[in-house]
Every structure is written in structure tokens, then in C-alpha cells.
Amino acid sequence: MNARIQHVELHAADDGLKPGDVMLNIENVSLSFGGVKAITDISFDIRKGEIRAIIGPNGAGKTSMLNVINGFYHPQQGTITFRGQARSRMQPHEAALSGIARTFQNVALFKGMSTLDNIMSGRTLKMNTNFFWQMLHVGPARNEEIAHRLKVEEIIDFLEIQAIRKTPVGKLPYGLQKRVELGRALAMEPDLLLLDEPMAGMNLEEKEDMSRFILDVNSQMGTTIALIEHDMGVVMDISDRVVVLDYGRKIGDGTPGEVKANQDVIDAYLGVSH
């Protein structure tokens, strides 16, 4: 194989759902920590192929919602149906196995590893040569490593981070770290990608880049995206539907236009005159 990288398609798995079908359905979910209610009786759905924004003031329960979706928290009440299957207590690695990937609000990269290794780590679940081949690092183990490297290079090209391939991620500026984290999640080739404040702390150009990547991931790879974001301009521009939370309750749901016109949402963000 020569320097030319053969083209590898990265895309979400075919799960029989058509764009627009409900992929993840959340029904009457409640979550509390002791006496503190983080989420109260929230229902909404995420449809295949859409960009779904979850917004709300600080402490509204947005991140808790993501944590429920990928199995870090187990809600006391309610059901979550992913691709038609209601799930019981799910562990994070099982969520990963079923095709849910995510990024974190505070970058959660593997600081001691290079950009390349970080993104390779997203391929963990797709690698399966056994311990003995791994010890020898020949035959299947080496071929597997190279095959996945090809996919990872696709992502590196897509995110335009070729120059920092071998740089330890701890040395990278914040904006690039966010980008590497997106790459790591993309390496899992998820069906559902959860982004927790992908634009936080970025300047305008970085936000524009990130928006472009999110839109491209959505349209080219067919990945369904749920994102939490505080930059309303970005949210209104790129998302198909928006759900608004406040104090753990849902106060609005619909297209960006509908949500913008919703009086409860305006009150939550701007306050109510007394």
C-alpha cells in the first residue's frame, strides 16, 4: 500500500431506521440524588438523522440527561427506549457497545497519550485480536492496528488535525483538544453522538469550525447528534429541534423558531417581571 490512503467510509451502522424515525425515546424520566431532584418527569425523543439541541440555564439538568442516556446515571423512574428496545440499568460500556458516543463539558481526553492514540482509543470496541497476537504484534494484531489506523487517519483528515497527530494532547490548546475529543468520539462510528457543550470557551473562528464539523458529521456520516450548548446563535442555526429544560423540567420542545417564541422559554432565560 502506498502513501495514498485508500478511501474508507465512516458512517453510522445501518439499524433499519429511516431518517425521521424515533431513535431514542425518553419517557417520564426522573432522577434524584438523595433529596435533590436533578430531572423531573422529562419526556422527549431523538429522531434518526437529526441534530437535537438540549438547552437550558445552568443547573437545568442537561448534563444529567446525557449521563442518563449513556448509562452513568440510572433514573429512578421512567423508561428509555433506544432503537425500539427499552433498556434497563445500562453500564457505560454497554451504551458504547450499542452505538452511543459522547464528548465531555470539560475536555476528558487521555492526557498522557498522543492525538493519534487518543483517537485510536475510540476504536477499542472494534478491535478484537486476542492477547497472544497482541503480545507478538504480528499477523492479525498488526493488520488490525493498521486497518484501524486507516480509519483514524480518515478522521484526522476530516478534522484537519494532521499536524498534531503525534503531539501529546496535554500540550494542545483548548480548541484543538475539543476537536481531538470530537475525533475520538467519531472513531467509535456512533449512531448517536452526544456533545456536551462542544463550543464552550471557543473563539468565533473555532466555533465556526466546530459548527461545520458537526453539520458535516451529521450530513456525511449520517450520525444522529444530541448537543448541549449555551451559544444560542449556534443552537438556533444548526439544530433541527430544540428541547429546553429548566430546574429539571421540560419547558419547551420544538423547532428553533417555535422554541424562540415560547413564552416559558423566554421567561426562563430572561426572568419574569414581578
Binding site: 476528558a108 497519550m113 485510536m120 482509543s121 498488526r142 493498521i146 467509535m188
Partner: protein
Amino acid sequence: MFYRESGQYKTTYESDQAIFPIREDRIGIAIIMAMALITPFIASEFILASIMIPFLILALGTIGLNVLTGYAGQLSLGTGAFMGAGAYACYKLATIFPDINIVVLILLSGVFSAGVGILFGLPSLRIKGLYLAVTTLAAQFFLEWCFIRIPWLYNYNASGAIEVPERRGFGDLILTGPSATATTRYYVVLAIVVVVTLVVKNLVRGRIGRQWMMIRDMDIAAELMGVRPLWAKLSAFAVSSYLAGVAGAMFVFFYLGAAEPSSFGISLSFQVLFMAILGGLGSLVGSFFGAAFIWILPIALRVGLPAVGVDVGAEIIFQIAQMAVGALIIFFLIAEPHGLARLWAIGKEKLRVWPFPYA
């Protein structure tokens, strides 16, 4: 100038992912290997038996600890005991199967210490950091107790020690026992250490090593990428204590010749931990640096000080050497907390852009 990466283009990922992708590194490692091979011809018996053999064995033990602490991020103070488990397992195996090649038995004895390691690694699923270190300390004391209190382990010897029996292999070469030559023992140790180091390198650069590092750097994100903490942590404990076990077995069979339970005490655990920290956690080459620093430097000082005219008696020389090593450890850790391996990496980076300060 003489360490230049530029111009060495890689056209396959295979060559990019090689252990030594840079030509100068390959030349360097070839020279080091050649020197290691000719050492017995130019070095004295003392250098072979008292410096090189224990240095290589302890380097392997340090690699073992590095897998656990440096790569998987689980602090352990039980390395000495795991080395002991390997040594006693090898002693029993050599007693039960006198006809099997001792090298096979040494590699096999690591399996027993790996089992012990998994057992004492179980708390790591719940406990982290210093608290985990304390549970491994329990392993240290428990195993030491076993070495003293279970006479079966030392074949009911009146002295309570294990004495290495004479074993032959590879034709009729005497491999172990009092009449085995230092040269033979050195070559066997060198071969085992090189091969095992290569295997560990393969592990840490592949999927399994990445899983360990994922758990070390951010366990929550690791779980989300599909790593099962149970598997990742216990496999790190298993590999780590396997390596410690092999090192321990070699320590007795090729270096000490006879061992008591106190040979595998807490001081050995700390010695290996110092080697790992000073050499650089999460680095295989650092394990060799650390082992060399802690093992060879005191001997070099003890031999070297009288040679340059400082002659104040053996006892004082010994203490001066101890103090100097202690001071140097503190100095190096202040200068570079990530150990000698990081200094080495920085040096290579500087050479790469030399004579310019940065690229």
C-alpha cells in the same frame, strides 16, 4: 546533525508504527545490543555477576511495576512480594520437575505470581490511589508471612531459606547453581529480559496497552469508549505480577543463589518503585535507566571514590555513596519529575533541531 528525522519518509503505516521508526534509533539499539553481547568478553566476573545480571533482572522487575503503575495508573507497594511469589513458585517447580529446562520453569513461575497479583488486584476495582497502595502493602506482608510460615514452600529446609539447585540445559550447560559461570547466567538473563521487554512493548503499543493508559488518564471516558475497568485493571495486575514473578525467579536463580523471605521484603518493593519513578513512569526505556541509576550508581561510587583518591574506609564510603544517591534522586526529581526517560526524550528533541533552539 547526527540525529535527524527529516528526510526519512514513511510510506506505510506499518513503518510509521514500528518500535524504532527513526533510523538513528535503530542504529543506536543495534550498538547497544552488540555491546550487551560482547560484555562477557571484556568485563570482569565482578561486573557481570554483581552489576549486569542484577541490573537486567531489576530492570525487568521495574518494567513489571511500570506496567501497573506507569501504564495502568494503579499504585503498588507489593512488587517485592510478587517477585518472591515467582521465586518460590520457581523453586517448587524446579523441585517437582527437575528434568524440565529451568528457563521454561522461570517463565512458567510468572504464571503463579500473576495469579497472586490478580487476587490482590481485586480491591483496585473499588479503591484508588494511596488506598490501593495500602492494600498492595497487605499483599507484601501476607506473602512474606507465607514465605516464613509455610515450610512446604522451602521444602522444609532447616534454615528456612531456598537454595538454588544445579540445573543443566541447552546441551549440558550448567545454568543455575553454585558452579554456573557468570557468563552463562548473564546470557540467559539477557535473552529473557530482551524477549520479555519486546513482548511488553508490543502489549503497550497495541489495544491492551491503550486500554491501560485510558484507565490511567481518565477512567470515566475510558468506560465510555467501551473499556471494562474490571478487565483492564486485572489484566494490568496479571501482566505486572507475571513480570515481577519472572524477575523474582531470575533474581534467586541467576543472582542470589539462595534466598530468605527477607530477600523479598518491603525494601525491595521500595527499591523497584524508586527505579520506576526515577526512570520515568510509563516508559520502558526509563525502567532500564532507573534500574541502572539505583543499582549501578552506588556501586560505581563505592568503587570509584577510592580510585580518585578519596580513601576513608569502606564503611564511610558506603554511607557517602548512599547519601549521594539520595541527594541525586531528589535533584533529578526536582529537575524533571517525569524521570530520566523524559530527560532522554527532551535530549532527543533538542538533537533533532540542533543547532537551532527550536524547529
